[in-house]
């Protein structure tokens, strides 16, 4: 067993993902470099990976969000940017988590739409989504209609 000495201790890493017709990852990177102030910024195919002290990363992320608030999404990452343990080139294939993100990218346009719409409407006026835990039984009126349809 080899001893493990961690690097980047006390830092955080965040993905800044852009899914927009107007802003590209390259645009976002340029803005990121302008305000980086020493934090590490790496451009990727879907956006940026930002690493540094938490306050610093939060400040950069807040600024970057302003570029296109409804189309920029942020999440934490466990590993620092370019870490060989998660690198596609080293693993042969994408890390499993990548496919999960690939899936959410197909849903994100609906979320962006939601964010845009809620600037115009009060959230309180929007009906609640269907409760996934509810499995409603057939109500009596519908059942009667079905029976009638069968009999006629």
């Amino acid at each position: 067993m080899t001893d493990y000495t961690p690097t980047h201790v006390g830092t955080v890493t965040k993905y800044v993902v852009v899914e927009s017709f107007e802003v590209t990852p390259a645009d976002l990177a340029i803005r990121g470099y302008e305000i980086s102030n020493g934090a590490m910024i790496k451009e990727t195919c879907f956006g940026l990976v930002v690493n540094g002290k938490e306050e610093e990363v939060d400040r950069i992320v807040t600024e970057l969000r302003k570029v296109d608030p409804d189309h920029i999404f942020v999440k934490d990452r466990g590993f620092p940017p370019g870490d060989s343990r998660r690198c596609r080139a080293n693993l042969g294939g994408a890390r499993p988590g990548y496919h999960g993100m690939e899936y959410e990218m197909t849903v994100i346009p609906y979320v962006s739409h939601g964010l845009e719409e809620l600037k115009k409407h009060d959230a309180a006026t929007v009906p609640a989504p269907a409760d996934p835990l509810e499995h409603p039984a057939l109500d009596v009126v519908t059942l009667k209609k079905l029976i009638d349809a069968q009999e006629s």
Partner: protein, 151 residues
């Protein structure tokens, strides 16, 4: 600012929406970060050593597969810490840290056992559902904020 367990814990969408509304998402990445920033014995790639499945015994018995217990060593403490939870129920394509259905069942069960505010959703399938999805999360997080402010 409340600590909110997000399910799937790898979700970009939930992580973003929770932090966008000023709360703290508890996610896989945060748990993994803690592992890889802690000195110890080397265990590539996630720095989950054979000790982690043993720590997982707190949440799952020894006859439960090691992979479930190892994952529970990441999520168990977060479930204990969390003050609310948002659960997407049709997250069938969340891999890696959320790649084991048995662990996922246990996580959801432990969250449901806990007396905290919970929001159950499905992924939006169209724009209309997108609006409802974002609005539901906004309302839920707003309520939490109000509750905190009145404390």
């Amino acid at each position: 600012m409340a600590k909110i367990f997000i399910y799937p814990a790898t979700s970009l969408i939930l992580s973003d929406l929770v932090s966008r509304h000023g709360h703290t998402p508890l996610s896989s990445a945060v748990a993994i970060r803690e592992r890889i920033q802690t000195a110890g014995l080397e265990s590539l790639p996630l720095q989950i050593t054979p000790e982690e499945p043993k720590k997982g015994l707190k949440w799952a018995a020894v006859e439960v597969p090691a992979g479930v217990r190892g994952r529970m060593s990441l999520y168990g403490p977060q479930i204990e810490q969390c003050e609310a939870a948002i659960i997407i129920n049709d997250a069938d394509l969340a891999f890696g840290c959320m790649g084991c259905a048995r662990t996922n069942e246990l996580i959801k069960f432990l969250l449901r056992q806990k007396d905290i505010p919970k929001l159950d959703l499905n992924y939006p399938k169209n724009e209309e559902e997108g609006v409802q999805f974002v609005a539901a999360i906004k309302r839920f997080l707003g309520e939490l904020k109000k509750r905190e402010d009145t404390k």
